[in-house]
Subunit: 254 residues, 2 copies
């Protein structure tokens, strides 16, 4: 009882470039190709699929847009299997949430759940070089902010602390999600002008938490790391909510 000859089905009939793109993708997967491996040139693809140059090129662009291939001109040029970068993956995913409107609480519901576990799982497993890198990020904001711009820069830097930490995890899934949320928060900060009024409280608490956290990570105190991060998340969320309310109030008042 295999698939019976299905009628025209409901499929909206994909265009040739899309079908070619799929075929090439399957071809790469079947042959277990790795990033950097070379794909057939345009001429050969035209012959293999019996299609014109334009059609093939559209197919290549589809694959390129997804980060699956890279293309270079010149001798020795051509198309090559590409590894999707984290940045590109985040950008593509951000498109999905563009029309969804995400709230601060939505983001923190995830951060509250994930970041403490991340911190705990890294305790005692970071090299001295990695710990130094974290300390360096913290050192980027040794003074409380005096202007809205400085405040914003500090917030972005503080988010960088979390992203740096996330990337130390050998769990690519966890690292990506945490890092992605950092990116959304950064966008919100820059784009929606949160943090307009300098907020000394967040600065001081953030600094203290991150310093404590590094110590706990260095000495392998997993439970402490989790507790510190959890507490940090709760504080940060509360402060951001207040900021957001202020911004909104001001926005309405204008």
């Amino acid at each position: 009882m295999t698939a019976p000859n299905r009628p025209p089905a409901k499929e909206p009939r994909r265009s040739r470039p899309v079908r070619v793109a799929d075929a090439i993708k399957d071809w790469v997967v079947e042959r277990n190709m790795a990033p950097g491996d070379r794909l057939p040139g345009e001429a050969e693809l035209m012959a293999r699929f019996g299609m014109a140059k334009g059609t093939i090129r559209e197919a290549m662009r589809i694959l390129e847009a997804q980060g699956l291939i890279e293309t270079r001109t010149g001798p020795g040029g051509g198309s090559f299997v590409g590894e999707v970068t984290a940045d590109r993956a985040k950008a593509l995913l951000a498109n999905y949430f563009y029309f969804k409107d995400i709230s601060i609480s939505d983001i923190y519901q995830l951060r509250r759940a994930l970041e403490p576990e991340l911190a705990a799982s890294l305790a005692g497993r970071l090299t001295e070089a990695q710990l130094a890198e974290l300390e360096q990020v913290v050192a980027k904001y040794p003074e409380p902010a005096r202007s809205a711009e400085e405040e914003r820069d500090q917030h972005v830097a503080s988010l960088e602390f979390h992203r740096t930490l996330a990337n130390f995890s050998d769990n690519a899934l966890l690292a990506f999600v945490v890092s992605f949320m950092g990116r959304i928060l950064t966008d919100l900060t820059v784009y929606r002008r949160l943090y307009d009024p300098p907020n000394r409280e967040l600065y001081e608490k953030g600094l203290a938490y991150q310093t404590e956290l590094i110590a706990a990570l260095r000495h392998g105190r997993a439970d402490d790391a989790r507790r510190i991060m959890r507490s940090h998340m709760e504080t940060a969320e509360a402060l951001m909510q207040r900021q957001e309310a202020q911004v909104l109030r001001r926005f309405i008042a204008e």
Copy 2:
């Protein structure tokens, strides 16, 4: 001190279709366009950008591949702003993890952290219709599996339970991440043939947990829901790890 005239920079010089795609994207964002809104036709774009048809079409394919636009032929046809679907977003994201190899523990590190919170946050907030939908999913596997195939189908159905639950959340971020992990597990199940040996233990425990969970959700017992889900996650992970070890052993033995 605005951006100084930067030298050629390092950018690898993007091709025309890519630049056109970016321009169109910016244009859509600036004008705050919504899904379904119409974009200029090929002819007009050719004129506006002063480029040939092929170039414009490649740009459109780039946008289409990201789910940002949809295109139809015929009168009244053309390109329209599209809303990226959850499925497409998952597929694009899956490409990123293709070369990353994710382990069962990686996935469960996230599930353990997220699903209990998800369950707790939904307790007492589901309609009777939604609860019925969950019960319907559970009813899909009223009997223990007798063959490897049945087992696999049951596992897929059980993952569907979690995805259904996730989609009831009004936190789009949380819903997406949980649902995405369900998808990865499904792929692993089907593709790597985990669960080959029917596993009565997982069946019985899974069924019991899900039934208890629905009751807790219905009566608004958030803490119970969290506890049940956490416990379920731990059991499921342990069983999957064992299964994976068995599959691997068998694979090596062959």
